[in-house]
Assembly symmetry: C2
């Protein structure tokens, strides 16, 4: 599944991923809406991208939560995305008694729609290039730390101004790894309600074994409705579904939020990623996967509670395994080295690029420094050494008390004024917290802390307080009051004094960790500033050679990709461009209907009602990555013909390279959505709304 | 499951595990048959161990394969063990068409019994203390390497003499970690046939989640028959089954082959184990578990092929996780440190122990050296970097060509004359080898090699030959001819010349690795010699203080343990001493008959025929560890009342400490065996044979 993994380390890695690719590479590219691929589309497909067409797609596109995609699909704010994107929300709405993950959900009336705790969605309203202002703030002569502080302060100021002047949430996005800075202005919605979800069984038919595989047969969709002031929102733009879908070889577009790529990392960065970061991430993911899988097997209720975590972990593990396999193929690194050599030679040769000549070495040194601290950073600042979401609450409470007392410009970025509303939404939302699951995850975290840093590390001794990881986790989870959302709000509103007075054991744990975590954060921020400056210099070389026709690396912000509906060759075998409902039943039968290839009861009962020739999933050449899950696939008319939900296994190295021959984006076909809603789920009113024939009641 | 893990690193770790515990610790102890716990049994239970009683139990006990336990249970050579011990053999006899793991197996006549490829069993006929001869060979003044060579040569000579003089296989066992050396003489049998196996579903009811848990409900048994000269063997001693079993608090004995313990490792050794070795082992196991589990889910046939590997890995993972949890509890290490301090002070104080004073530091230094090379050793010499059994064949062929050309005394230990027959049996046996599974495992191995040593390591480059791990694994597995047992025999018989001429790609790979692997082996052997000498000195201190009433650490050789049938307290809750068939059905119902809590069809159909009050599993306080699986539990009369198959979760730290309050050995009750054979499996003839009422036909 192409959902942006929540496990992606948010802070330190973010900054190391440089992007930029050369134009004219076929269907490659995750393009900025304010730098769209007009030329490519005109030359390759004879298609003229109009401003109106772009605006329509941009404003119908929705950023879901922290890192996935969705789109408005009715005039009354119906929002379409993937089931695996919505599953976090569905899981939070579920209980042992109402298991919507297993059984699905359908609200037949507006009144039955269920509000999702802690969920926000954002619509990109406008983009402004603020590069000059940001770069001006970083005056010549500042040392690396001063430069980092100045840049952070400038970003915080711009974001604060944005909300004050326009009422829109502002986000300064670092593009081309530091060469450009754009202000994204979002309309933010925080009342999102669940309308429809199929059973996870059919949404994720084939489970982990079929994840990232194709041919596929997943009805990986769910529907929400966005509200404002207690009423369904009427979005300025929405996409009309076209159940005919797209024909083979037809041009299609994908508009969504690819999370991160690192296609033009320097070779040194790729090697550090391969040799230091990926092994750590993989080891951690596999350890968690084994723990959660074993715990899930112990009872159906355990399995239900751990479902969402386990899915996320298995999904990330498959991505990282794929990345590792790609990076261990000498051909990939060799090609990267060759490309880099060309740039380095150009930089050495051309006086215009004098500044850039040392940039690669500066990056290598900064990476070396980051790698040295990488595991400690992940454990202490990244929170991997603690594992529990209760620890995250504790840290946010501790830090927000400290940070909110500072001027906006000096705060850690996530506590700057423009960003606090999202933090507060997450912190105050009601959501089920299971002591047993939290203890399990925290024991895993503490075990990794002790084994990675060593039992005799002074901080580890302080953290464990003379107990084993399991005992300590049990004590902390049982003892903290942070499970209570109202209590969290009370402490937050009381500020540092209330947080200190609480003497909550989880907050006290966060306090123990704070000095070292902060020191790691500060050190990494400085190195990341060095990377930004060096990458900006390298970009100047690349621009000089290839011209300005690039797209920046993915940053979790809205991008436009394009391609055609098209099969591919796998080990000499032709893989078709689409699958059908008939194929779904056939695959289930081949696997004797054994999980995860079993079908929900109503899919078995209603098979006869279905038109089995209905297309179910299809593939196209559009360039996507984790975070694109839930993106609309639209045709030249801007009609919705499908919903992205995955990439094929060949695309797992898409972090680093795109191949038009091999990479495919997987989508749920519009026809399957309509067919299933009507014939399996008795949800004709929803289809009528999608087709513009009916308003919801 | 208490099966000795095949993944236990055979060579280097072996030598670091010191054993010895103090007498009078209740039911603790894995006692030597030639140093039995007469005093303890007399004083605590008023039981006199007679020589005849001991000989009977010793010679009815059987070492199964490389590291598990079994026992003769009829005058016609019927051999009882666990299903999970026999599962390797059952798996090799199975195919997609005849899935005996899933469906079970029962040979109603001798003619239907199925010979198990590559399986040998051994019966211990006598023990001789050869300490004086071994120690004499290691003359004063030798340096560490010379000492190691002299010791190895002396062992090889004694083992060779044994077979020449008695016809029995000889094995010099290092006891008390180097303080004593005993020659074990075995009668070896290589014609072992499968007679009966239940479905894995009931043998391993509850699967990985219930593994090492209690209460349990597993019919974890299977029956073989040992043949000699084409006819059932008539063993000198066998155990008669007593279906009444043992009562609560009754004294019972366990006679089996505990694999390894490290209860009196020095603190430095425990810390190295915890900080270097366990993390590596756990990371490797979890990585393999995830890979095999994901692959298994892709199809039922994949699952069948990978079943045995996956079981072994999950079992080991649970053991190692338990060890890590134990070693991360400060109380355990603190107590070890306290005990060690007493010995060190005694050594410093008492002139008799002058030599021993520096022993702890010598051990710490040797461990430091071993730890430095630990991962490389596991990857290259241990074979973890290659993963495939085809690589093991290749290495054995390469090395046997080299080693057999040397004098017996100079060979690597596993190629010495006394040990070659077992190697040959394994090398020449027919067994199914699946290209896809071998490729998967080899790609995992090569990936770990590349990530641990680094892609730019010259040896890694040579091994991967410019390909990715997956590509290289596919090429090697497809290209090698070593899947053919007859070809392996031909190369072996042709010696080094034939092996060289073969140019088999897998052998050529082994050749690339050979210099570095051998260097690591040699270096480790030298360090292990230092450990042996230092541990012998520490033992002299311990003997001086506590007297000679110890048992040595487990070494995979026959030991006698004792205890009583007895429940225990778990988090304040009383856990009963036995379970019943009724409990089995209840547990399945509680889990809605979902795997791994589902029951075989005939267990559901025939429920009404069963006496549901029949005891199914029971626990006793006897001191066991991995390798004890399949051990007989006998009463004072030497009658079989159960078969050991597991330990409880509390016993997972039994490598390091035993607790009479908490540790429990789990056994299948004799009554359940009889009840199931008669009423579920229509196998009354087998029961009649077990009861001595019928001879097989």
């Amino acid at each position: 599944m192409q959902k942006l993994s929540m496990l992606w380390p948010c802070l330190a890695v973010g900054a190391i991923f440089l992007i930029v690719a050369c134009a004219g590479f076929g269907d490659e590219g995750m393009w900025l809406y304010n730098q769209p691929p007009r030329k490519q589309l005109r030359e390759k497909y004879g298609f003229e991208l109009s401003d109106a067409w772009l605006e329509h797609l941009q404003k119908a596109s929705v950023r879901y939560g922290g890192g996935a995609s969705a789109e408005f699909v009715s005039e009354d704010g119906l929002l379409l995305s993937n089931h695996h994107v919505g599953s976090g929300a569905i899981q939070k709405l579920s209980s042992a008694a109402h298991n919507y993950m297993r059984d699905g959900f359908y609200a037949r009336t507006l009144a039955e729609e269920k509000q999702c705790p802690g969920l926000e969605v954002n619509v990109l309203m406008s983009i402004e290039d603020v590069t000059a202002r940001i770069q001006a703030a970083v005056r010549p002569g500042l040392d690396d730390r001063q430069a980092e502080e100045a840049r952070r302060a400038a970003m915080a100021a711009i974001e604060k101004e944005c909300v004050e002047q326009t009422g829109l949430r502002g986000e300064v996005v670092t593009l081309y790894q530091g060469a450009q800075y754009h202000l994204y202005r979002y309309k933010r919605y925080t009342d999102v309600r669940l309308v429809f979800a199929p059973e996870e069984q059919i949404a994720f038919f084939g489970g982990d074994p079929d994840n990232f595989e194709y041919p596929r047969y997943d009805l990986d969709i769910c529907l929400f409705r966005v509200y404002e002031n207690g009423r369904p929102v009427r979005p300025e733009h929405f996409l009309k579904i076209n159940p005919k879908g797209a024909a083979e070889n037809e041009l299609v577009f994908v508009s969504g939020h690819p999370g991160r790529t690192g296609r033009l990392l320097t070779v040194a960065e790729l090697e550090h990623y391969r040799d230091v970061r990926l092994p750590y991430m993989l080891s951690r993911l596999k350890s968690l996967e084994v723990a959660l899988a074993a715990w899930s097997e112990r009872s159906p209720e355990n399995a239900r509670r751990a479902r969402q975590d386990l899915f996320g972990i298995q999904n990330s593990r498959k991505v990282r395994d794929g990345e590792m396999a790609g990076l261990l193929a000498p051909s990939l690194i060799d090609e990267k080295r060759r490309q880099e050599q060309l740039l380095r030679e150009a930089a050495a040769r051309d006086a215009r690029f004098a500044q850039a000549a040392g940039a690669w070495d500066r990056i290598a040194r900064a990476q070396e420094t980051l790698s040295r601290d990488w595991v400690r950073y992940q454990l202490l600042e990244g929170g991997n050494g603690f594992g529990s979401s209760l620890f995250s609450f504790a840290r946010h409470l501790l830090r927000s008390g400290i940070e909110r007392a500072k001027p906006n410009s000096e705060r850690l970025r996530e506590y700057s004024q423009g960003r606090l509303p999202s933090l507060e939404l997450a912190l105050f939302s009601q959501q089920p917290i299971y002591d047993d699951l939290e203890q399990l995850k925290m024991a895993e975290g503490l075990t990794s802390l002790a084994t990675q840093l060593g039992c005799n590390h002074p901080l580890v001794r302080q953290v464990l307080a003379g107990k084993s990881p399991r005992e300590r986790a049990a004590e902390l989870v049982a003892g903290t009051r942070l499970k209570d959302a109202a209590y969290r709000r009370k402490l937050y509103e009381g500020g540092a004094a209330a947080v200190d007075a609480a003497k909550d054991p989880m907050i006290e744990l966060a306090r123990i960790v704070e000095p070292e975590a902060r020191a790691l954060r500060q050190a990494a921020d400085v190195q990341n500033e060095i990377l930004r400056q060096a990458h900006a210099q390298i970009e100047s070389v690349r621009f000089g050679i290839y011209g300005p026709t690039y797209y920046p690396d993915a940053t979790g912000t809205l991008r436009l990709a394009f391609g055609v509906v098209k099969g591919y060759l796998e080990e000499g075998r032709a893989v078709p461009h689409q699958t059908t409902l008939a194929g779904l039943y056939q695959r289930a039968a081949e696997h004797f209907h054994q999980p995860p290839f079993d079908l929900p009861a109503r899919w078995l009962e209603r098979k006869k009602k279905l038109n089995l020739d209905t297309p179910m999933n299809f593939v196209c050449t559009a360039d996507i990555i984790g975070g694109n899950s839930g993106s609309p696939v639209v045709n030249r008319n801007g009609e919705l013909v499908g919903v992205i939900f995955d990439g094929n296994i060949q695309s797992l190295v898409a972090d680093f390279v795109y191949s038009e021959e091999q990479n495919r984006a997987l989508a749920v076909h519009a026809a399957a959505i309509v067919e299933a809603l009507v014939k399996i789920y008795d949800a004709r009113p929803l289809v009528d709304e999608l087709l513009g024939r009916r308003r919801p009641r």
